[in-house]
């Protein structure tokens, strides 16, 4: 269940993740200070109280995580198993950055194009693309799957479940 400790790397990642959390918390804290109160509101807990407390928690916990990461990094090989969340869907192999980036861009484009281009075409294009990025040799299968999936889902939702999907260029 636990991810094998790969030495320095997880600790460095913890340090970075903690830093990012703390920075995010600071941004939220600044934004929380701009939340206004109703004139005459004298309650102990106003609209800004929870956001303020939560952003402080983020900053504090982020800094603590960062320091932990740095400290454990120095004491390399220590028995600190931070970062083992395999049971919660955590992963145990490293992800190739290049392909990840391509996938994220494809997904982002799909999200943006979904409404203007329409469900059928955008879904067909997205599925064909991502499946072929992983397994280009079987492009025929990928095209057939993409076609079948988009048509079947479109018909099921628009006809059977009466959920309207963007028709896009067909509309």
């Amino acid at each position: 269940m636990t991810r094998p400790d790969t030495g320095l790397r997880p600790h460095r990642r913890d340090a970075v993740a903690g830093m990012v959390t703390a920075i995010g918390g600071t941004v939220l804290f600044t934004a929380a200070q701009q939340i206004e109160r109703l004139p005459g509101d004298t309650e102990v807990i106003g609209p800004a109280t929870f956001p303020t407390v939560l952003s402080v928690v983020l900053v504090g916990a982020g800094l603590a995580l960062c320091l932990n990461g740095l400290r454990n990094r120095r004491a390399a090989g220590g028995d600190v198993s931070d970062g083992d969340a395999t049971a919660d869907g955590g992963q145990d192999e490293s992800v190739p950055w290049r392909r990840l980036l391509v996938m994220v861009v494809a997904f982002a484009t799909y999200c943006v194009a979904f409404i203007p281009v329409g469900f059928l075409i955008s879904t067909f294009a997205f599925l064909t693309l991502v499946a072929s990025l992983v397994d280009a040799a079987r492009w025929k299968r990928n095209v057939l799957f993409a076609l079948g999936f988009s048509v079947a889902v479109y018909v099921t939702f628009t006809q059977l479940l009466v959920v309207e999907l963007p028709a896009g260029v067909f509309g």
Partner: protein
């Protein structure tokens, strides 16, 4: 209405052809999604919420609850066969289930898990019938102060039960609560963290959050790692049945698992997870010396106990959700959201105002569990073939479903941008070992906590001592403190005894 007669009325409604169909559909879809590697009950429900839009409340909730326990069962199948649990609760099953599968005893592991789940699930329904009236009585005497303590306790317990870093769990909870703060303040209607965008003033939809945090990161991860085929050997499942010896070892574990699972499932914030872990260590404790050596290497009790506890916990987690509107797990939190989506507010009033609905849902759990048992013995081989769906097609399809689901929630382009943004946040968190389940639970609990805390302090004129002055809230506080101290003591004792060994 008396609880038992309520259940009977509910049962009559649950076996109407239409509702039977929805239960069947729910458990089937749930099992299918649960079997798909990496997709658990939360993902299943979140992705399929759009399916229930056009349905009546009872049918929709029956369908989605069916998906819940179907997905739990499907998750056990993947835990046993390829060691990929869909959620934390079934991670324990893999400890002994997977070694059993490696020894060619997958059939026995699957059978004991199916029977255990059934027993746990059915007993939990009867437990619900017994406990619900009790809890309703307590719930009626609950004021804002008690709810505040209960919710804080739930959040604290969530953080305590994470397998990895507590600090990361805390950050995850804070992130979930922060997301829930976005939008208009419920009391003063002031804008909070909307950064001037009109769309953000509506806040972030819980279903969108669940889809973005669970389905998107999982799918992105699999697509990025780029496996073309599933690399696990899942052909040899063997016959799905147990030998007499298996049964003899399993039956006492069923009993213990039910009790442990039910009572830990009742605790808000913990849900079934604690129960499965507790049941596993209990089975190990009570095992004979020779059997104890087998734990982790394919001891059938190690599958039977936790699986029973898991489903007993699922049923039990519905109790605080229905009677107190305080969900016990991330999945029940999502179900709570579904109730609210239909304009229903769980709690003691719901039992008064719409008893038939409540009891129909409860009774459908009985029907659903029975269907699962009947379906799974003959159909396990069919479900197993799902494990061979090529990952690029599967996860591409999952991403398409996330976009479809996000779109169907509001029919706006903004939802899709939120899906992308939160999905990437979730991906970054998951890859760095932040547990994501606490974030969902926290996002559901945060607004409840805020409103009750504010109410308490308005009533007490800003005096924080009110939490200690009310006997009921003081009792709850003490209980939670004990609950928080106990795990620390247990870990301490375990460390101490392992040092002695």
């Amino acid at each position: 209405m008396d609880a038992l007669s309520g259940l009977l009325t509910g049962l009559a409604a649950a076996v109407s052809p239409q509702n039977l169909l929805f239960v069947l559909l729910g458990v089937l879809i749930g099992t299918i999604v649960g079997v798909l590697p990496g997709l658990g009950p939360i993902t299943a429900i979140a992705l399929l919420i759009p399916l229930s839009f056009g349905l009546e409340p009872a049918s929709g909730i029956i369908l989605l609850s069916g998906i819940y326990y179907g997905a739990m069962y499907g998750g056990s199948i993947t835990s046993i066969l390829i060691r990929t649990p869909g959620e934390v609760a079934s991670a324990v099953t893999a400890l002994d289930g997977y070694p059993m599968a490696r020894q060619g005893r997958a059939g026995a592991a699957l059978a004991t898990s199916a029977v255990g789940s059934y027993i746990g699930g059915v007993v939990a329904v009867f437990g619900l019938v017994l406990m619900a009236p009790l809890l309703i009585d307590i719930a009626i005497s609950f004021g804002a102060a008690e709810y505040t303590v209960l919710l804080i306790g739930a959040l604290a317990l969530t953080a305590s039960l994470i397998s990895g870093s507590r600090l990361k769990a805390l950050i995850s909870i804070a992130v979930g609560m922060c997301i829930a703060m976005v939008g208009l303040d419920p009391q003063s209607s002031m804008e909070r963290w909307t950064f001037g965008t009109l769309e953000l003033s509506d806040g972030v939809d819980i279903a969108l959050l669940a889809i973005a945090l669970f389905a998107v990161p999982e799918a992105l991860h699999h697509l990025a790692t780029g496996h073309k085929v599933v690399d696990a050997d899942v052909t040899a499942t063997g016959r799905t049945w147990m030998t007499k010896r298996d049964l003899r070892l399993s039956v006492p574990a069923y009993g213990r698992g039910t009790v442990v699972g039910f009572f830990s499932g009742l605790l808000p914030g913990l849900g079934p997870t604690l129960g499965t872990f507790a049941s596993y260590s209990l089975e190990k404790q009570v095992a004979s010396k020779e059997r104890r050596k087998l734990f982790g290497k394919g001891a059938i009790e190690g599958v039977a106990g936790p699986e029973t506890a898991n489903n007993a916990g699922v049923g039990a987690a519905m109790i605080p959700m229905l009677t107190l509107a305080v969900p016990g797990s991330a999945t029940t939190a999502l179900l709570l959201f579904v109730f609210q989506m239909y304009g229903l507010q769980p709690g003691p009033q719901l039992f008064d105002s719409d008893p038939e609905l409540v009891w129909t849902i409860v009774a459908s759990m009985l029907v659903g569990n029975t269907m699962l048992l009947l379906l799974n013995f003959p159909m396990v081989k069919v479900f197993v073939t799902l494990l061979k769906v090529p990952p690029p097609l599967l996860y591409g399809g999952v991403l398409a479903f996330t976009v479809l689901g996000a779109y169907a929630l509001t029919f706006s382009a903004f939802s899709l941008l939120m899906l992308l943004a939160i999905g990437l946040l979730g991906y970054a968190m998951q890859e760095n070992g932040f547990p994501l389940t606490p974030a969902i639970l926290a996002a559901v609990l945060a607004p409840l906590l805020e409103i009750n805390l504010r109410r308490t302090l308005v009533i007490s004129n800003g005096d924080w001592m009110v939490f200690l002055q009310r006997p009921l809230s003081l009792t709850l506080l003490i209980l939670f403190l004990l609950g928080a101290i106990a795990p620390v003591l247990i870990t301490w004792r375990r460390r101490y005894s392992s040092r002695l060994e």
